[in-house]
């Protein structure tokens, strides 16, 4: 109650004197070191004293760790510290036996990554076989994919998109950095081309989905 003024003055004061950038860099360093998961800039700012600018501190920190045994890496809109990939050979002890993904799961994952947001029907159309529930469940459970927005077509089917964990796992800064993405797009292989003449609705639905892809992707790429 009566502390309101006190808090206010505190906040006001810190507006003028955020910790020096060197201190902010130390703070970001400590926070990133503490967790295994990537931390968003927002979360960093929330945890740091008022007035701190995590984004700027990150620029300095990233530079500092260039070429070191551990690096500051960007994962989507989050940041993490990871060991340098060339030192992987030292870590045999740390290697966790990852569950072997079936060929179907790997293909499904790739289709989701490159075509996102994508519906189950579209995945099936691309692979030419039905997608087993287990495959999608496995990818969801690994938190490499998640549900995206529903497609605004009849039936309002759910879509799938890849997650930040996916980007983290494959060392990708953003989905834009997927290998070969540009080439595929240039070759028109990411287009949702309907089979000719088969379904009269297809054309309409397609326009919608094109829009959504645009939207969904910008969403993915922007943040």
């Amino acid at each position: 109650m009566t502390d309101d003024t006190e808090i206010e003055t505190k906040v006001e004061k810190s507006l003028f004197e955020a910790p020096p950038m060197g201190e902010q860099e130390r703070m970001v360093e400590a926070i990133l070191f503490a967790t295994a998961e990537a931390v968003t800039t927002k979360e960093l700012n929330d945890r740091m004293p008022h007035g701190a600018d995590a984004a700027e501190a990150l620029v300095h920190l990233r530079k500092r760790y260039e070429g070191r045994g551990v690096n500051v890496v960007k994962v989507g809109d989050a940041w993490a510290i990871r060991t340098a990939p060339d030192l992987g050979f030292l870590m045999q002890k740390e290697t966790v036996e990852t569950r072997k993904l079936s060929r179907a799961a790997i293909e499904t994952l790739a289709i989701i990554a490159y075509h996102q947001p994508v519906t189950r029907a579209e995945i099936e159309e691309i692979r030419g076989v039905s997608v087993s529930r287990g495959t999608v469940d496995q990818l969801l459970e690994m938190e490499w994919i998640r549900f995206g927005r529903r497609r605004m077509t009849p039936g309002r089917p759910v879509t799938f998109v890849v997650t930040q964990d996916f980007l983290d796992h494959f060392g990708l800064e953003s989905a834009r950095d997927l290998p070969g993405l540009k080439e595929l797009r240039a070759a028109g292989l990411l287009e949702n081309r309907p089979p000719p003449g088969t379904m009269p609705n297809m054309g309409e639905g397609d326009v919608d989905s094109e829009e959504e892809i645009e939207e969904g992707q910008s969403e993915l790429f922007e943040d």
Partner: protein, 262 residues
């Protein structure tokens, strides 16, 4: 895979051998599109230059073989076979201008697109899996530190709370809970009490207005309260089976009579 050139229209020996090799392994295919993609590799050309007609033939040969060997093919393989037979006839026959629908070339082009797209997805999937992976090639922090949630309760009280609290204690003997002043209210309890005493004499029908308390008619507010409570008390008595009520017409006076012996 055996050699098979793209121009062996009748299906050479090599082609047949290849088809048979595929049949043995039919369980290894993920559906007809996968099979078609594998067959297309025997053409040894860029997928964009693939001869869909050849491919259709290869596929149909494969299905024939499977039938001859009495290998049961899943329904979708047969559906694809039927579709490819249709496509083949479209591609071979001169186009019929009266016929509706997409041309054989359109259908073939789409099939080629599907194959190319599937192949592309497989290629990028392989590229993806070949990337450095977390927990295999690069690593996260081994000793993690969770953010502790510290919950702190801060109690507050104002000076006013304090003074009111003190005032409350020092004056508690004078204190009475806040109640509405009820000078102008004739409660239902009061009405009931009054009527219970009177109904003994109500052998004949009497208007309930005659049970109103004395001296309450001067003030309209008081009168209204007394009317309401007397009416409510009458209903209560009727419910208890002590009295009977009647009303000859809407808005006519409500009359009351003692209920005898029961």
């Amino acid at each position: 895979m055996n050699d098979a050139t793209s121009d062996n229209f009748d299906g050479s020996v090599a082609d047949r051998l290849a088809a048979e090799a595929l049949i043995v392994d039919v369980d290894g295919f993920e559906g007809p599109l996968d099979l078609l993609l594998t067959l297309s590799r025997t053409q040894k050309v860029d997928l964009r230059k693939i001869s869909v007609l050849d491919l259709a033939r290869q596929y149909l040969t494969f299905v024939e073989k499977a039938k001859a060997l009495r290998i049961e093919l899943a329904a979708d393989y047969l559906v694809m076979a039927a579709w490819l037979a249709f496509l083949k006839s479209r591609l071979l026959l001169p186009p019929d201008p009266t016929e509706e629908g997409p041309s054989g070339e359109d259908l073939a082009a789409h099939l080629a697109f599907q194959l190319e797209r599937l192949q592309a997805m497989r290629d990028v999937a392989a590229k993806l899996m070949a990337r450095d992976q977390l927990g295999r090639d690069f690593f996260a922090r081994g000793i993690t530190q969770q953010v502790e949630q510290v919950r702190k309760v801060e109690y507050t009280a104002t000076l006013l709370d304090l003074m009111q609290g003190y005032a409350r204690i020092r004056t508690k003997d004078e204190f009475r809970p806040f109640v509405m002043d009820r000078d102008a209210v004739f409660t239902m309890e009061q009405a009931l009490e009054r009527m219970r005493g009177l109904i003994g004499f109500a052998g004949t029908w009497t208007a309930i207005s005659s049970y109103m308390p004395e001296g309450w008619d001067a003030d309209p507010v008081k009168w209204r309260s007394a009317t309401a409570s007397t009416f409510a008390a009458s209903l209560e008595l009727a419910k208890e089976g002590k009295v009977e009520l009647r009303q000859s017409d809407t808005f006519a006076p409500i009359e009351l009579r003692r209920r005898d012996g029961r």
